[in-house]
Amino acid sequence: MRPLAELESGLDSAGESPDVQDGAEQLLRIGEEVLEHWITVKGEVPTDDRREGFRLLALHRQGAKGDPSFNACRETCREIVYHYNLITMQPELADSTNRLAMMKMICSHLFLFVSGKMQVAELGEFCCSSKPIRLESEYNAQTTKEA
């Protein structure tokens, strides 16, 4: 797992890769590593499982367990996967370069969201709208469902 600063700088080079498939692979890996950071600081071991064929989605699910506010990046992760599929399944398409650039923007959002969340004291207070739902007790059942 590379340091966050290295991942951030890697976003640009991956997003501008002349080989769109390689760029998409790099961005997907960066997304995974960003989530690995989040899971590691929470004291857990990042999973090697896959969901719907992607480790990124399994890592997101792991990161959101017990912390529904982390679902604020759920669709971001799914969009990364969607763009990865678009690029790798039809790399010859003329707009693949644009798609790679967009995938970089989405990965960048995931990076900003997770790194911002980690900067805040006690971790996970980024999306304060979800804070009460993360509290223990009566919300536990729903927490599991949402995660």
Partner: protein, 310 residues
């Protein structure tokens, strides 16, 4: 009574933001309601929904505050539907509804505080809380809008930005993801549908529900600016001329951090930010001033003139 008929007259809960930074949203929502023949009856003596501040200190108190708004609508105004255009208010009323249906302790706290405050206790299910998007979508619909459009939004490319509170957490929105015609929590489309009916060209925008950092806009401004900048750049990359919003917090955040990004980071992203109600209002023939374009932080007037909307 059909949903269409039920939504023709609703209790209107503007919330605090629409009386302040989001006044343009208030103005444009009321203006399109009038134009479309829909009746908005403001909730009497409404209070704060508990927003983020109260909720973070005492979630049960937030549930009570939101329940009082619904209680007034149901028990003092005899209304069946409360329409809240602000994502934060909408989210909080839905959360209170969920709590009161599923959590005994919340019911006890709300009952105790309601009695202390001297009003009837709200009971789960007394009213239906909807967003402004549900209101237009169900009361008028795309066909109804098409018939009424005077200035088509044709040629305007729009990135629809819903923010994170309109669809999350999923369990407080049981009516979403409920099959054909319902709103999606993963890829919301009601705003896209309405603006397309008014002639706009919606671009494929992958960050439509991404976090704008709104909650930390004051405590951690730099992170918010970076998040907003990324949203603006992605919308631009998607080919959008305009970002359409449906939340006063998101809208203000996008506008403020667009300016801040230029000042602090030296990055200028040329993209207009307008409430969906402003765009719909102008499509229906209302003048920009009628929908509060002059109240936005950023100026869109010359763009709107170019496009024949002003």
């Amino acid at each position: 009574m059909t949903t269409k008929d039920k939504y023709k007259k609703v209790a209107y809960y503007p919330g605090c933001a629409l009386e302040g930074t989001g006044h343009a949203y208030n103005r444009s929502t009321k203006a399109i309601g009038k134009k479309l023949g829909l009746d908005l009856v403001e909730v009497k003596n409404w209070n704060c929904c508990g927003a983020m501040e109260v909720k973070n200190v005492d979630p049960k108190l937030q549930t009570y505050l939101s329940s009082r708004v619904m209680s007034v609508a149901a028990n003092e105004m005899d209304m069946d539907v409360v329409m809240a255009p602000c994502n934060g208010c909408y989210h909080n009323l839905k959360k209170a509804e969920y709590d009161l249906k599923n959590d005994k302790e919340s019911v006890e706290v709300v009952d105790r505080l309601s009695k202390k405050a001297g009003h009837k206790t709200y009971e789960s299910g007394q009213v239906e809380t909807i967003h402004a998007l549900d209101w237009i979508k169900d009361a008028i619909g795309e066909d109804g809008l098409r018939e009424r459009v005077k200035n088509s939004l044709s040629g305007i490319k729009v990135a629809n930005y819903y923010g994170c509170m309109y669809t999350r957490p999923r369990h407080i929105f049981p009516e979403k993801d409920a099959g054909p015609g319902s709103e999606s929590t993963s890829k919301p489309h009601f705003m896209d549908d309405l603006l397309a009916a008014a002639g706009a060209e919606n671009v494929d925008f992958p960050l439509k529900t991404a976090c704008c950092g709104g909650a930390h806009t004051l405590s951690d401004s730099d992170t918010s600016t970076k998040l907003v900048l990324n949203i603006l750049k992605a919308a631009k990359l998607a080919g959008a001329d305009v970002i359409a919003t449906e939340c006063p917090t998101c809208h203000t955040g996008l506008e403020m951090h667009q300016i801040r990004a230029e000042k602090r980071l030296g990055v200028k992203v040329e993209i207009k930010i307008l409430y969906f109600t402003q765009l719909l209002g102008m499509a229906l023939g209302l003048k920009p001033k009628k929908v509060g374009v002059h109240e936005n932080i950023s100026s869109s007037l010359s763009f709107l003139k170019e496009r024949g909307l002003a």
